[in-house]
Subunit: 191 residues, 2 copies
């Protein structure tokens, strides 16, 4: 690598790449979330990083566009939360920096845990029209992760900009994954 | 590319890679910012993207660790703001997902414009101990860019977590770059 470096590359864990090829469209939001929570559980069992997963779907058809897991430890990169990974991969798949572009379908981000401050911003810039969440902020913070400066006004801002927010979908299943991560001694990284 | 995609790669514009090799350490914060504002001006003149630049320095010595510019249009990636690019590259250079690790030197992020909501979160997770800003939020919004849900409480949160914030360093020079971008017809992308 040259110094200062001028290039970044990251990739999903192999188990995830292999799994993604065979995912059928999921018309029901609960099925979309079930897949995402399953991926977060696989992430914990493969010990490939923090217990978080997210995916971008075409909102109407439920076709999977991309999926991500937390790559912070694996890639040594503090910004690679599951939501950022899924958004970056979705934009690469579709070839745009704005998933809500005129004339295209609507997209949604489905995430196993309520997004941190950085990821809330990333959701807004991505152009997705709906954000679907399983575990709450309080569930994530209960196992020791920090969500950063997220306020009631942050959520209101997203909704004002046209992002619908759907909460508590498969919350219990997602919380059970967070607890499994702790039981297995997963790293709680925090500034 | 496989679909769904499982890999992301991005690189700095060539003019920037070439320039970075020869940067001497900058003990004074104004000199660090002058470099960053210069990079934002070069970005505008090379028409390689949004009029923003950022860099990570070793706080004590002023040695340059990484520099980034906005790569949103160039890479089709809404998360690649200059700050995120600089942070990702700094962590890659140092080989850690936390620049504030025990035993290492302190690092700081120097940015030509006040960070958006996403980048404020990214700054917090990066572990930098100081954030140095040129143009204000109001300057960025005056040319039509959106900063997202950034509140007084967001800044207070960072300071509470040990991130010192220094504002208005070379503000006028940075604002003149924002205005040059507009005069040249640069894209104001916004959701």
């Amino acid at each position: 690598m040259s110094f200062p470096p001028d290039r970044i590359e990251f990739s999903l864990p192999e188990w995830l790449s292999e799994r993604l090829g065979a995912v059928a469209p999921k018309p029901a939001v609960e099925d979309r979330m079930r897949l995402v929570v399953d991926l977060s559980r696989e992430q914990v069992r493969h010990a490939t990083g923090g217990p978080f997963a997210a995916a971008v779907f075409e909102a109407g058809t439920g076709a999977l566009v991309s999926a991500g897991v937390n790559l912070v430890e694996r890639q040594g990169n503090s910004a690679l939360h599951a939501e950022v990974v899924a958004i970056m991969l979705a934009e690469a798949a579709i070839g745009t920096f704005h998933l809500g572009g005129l004339g295209g379908p609507d997209y949604e981000l489905v995430t196993s845990s309520s997004p941190c401050a950085m990821c809330l911003g990333a959701v807004l810039w991505s152009g997705v029209r709906r954000l679907v969440i399983a575990a709450r902020t309080e569930d994530v913070e209960a196992i020791g992760f920090d969500e950063g400066p997220v306020f009631a006004g942050s959520w209101a801002h997203l909704e004002h900009k046209g992002v619908r927010i759907v909460r508590d979908v498969c919350r219990e299943e997602a919380v059970s994954v967070l607890r499994e991560y702790v039981r297995r001694g997963g790293l709680i990284y925090n500034p």
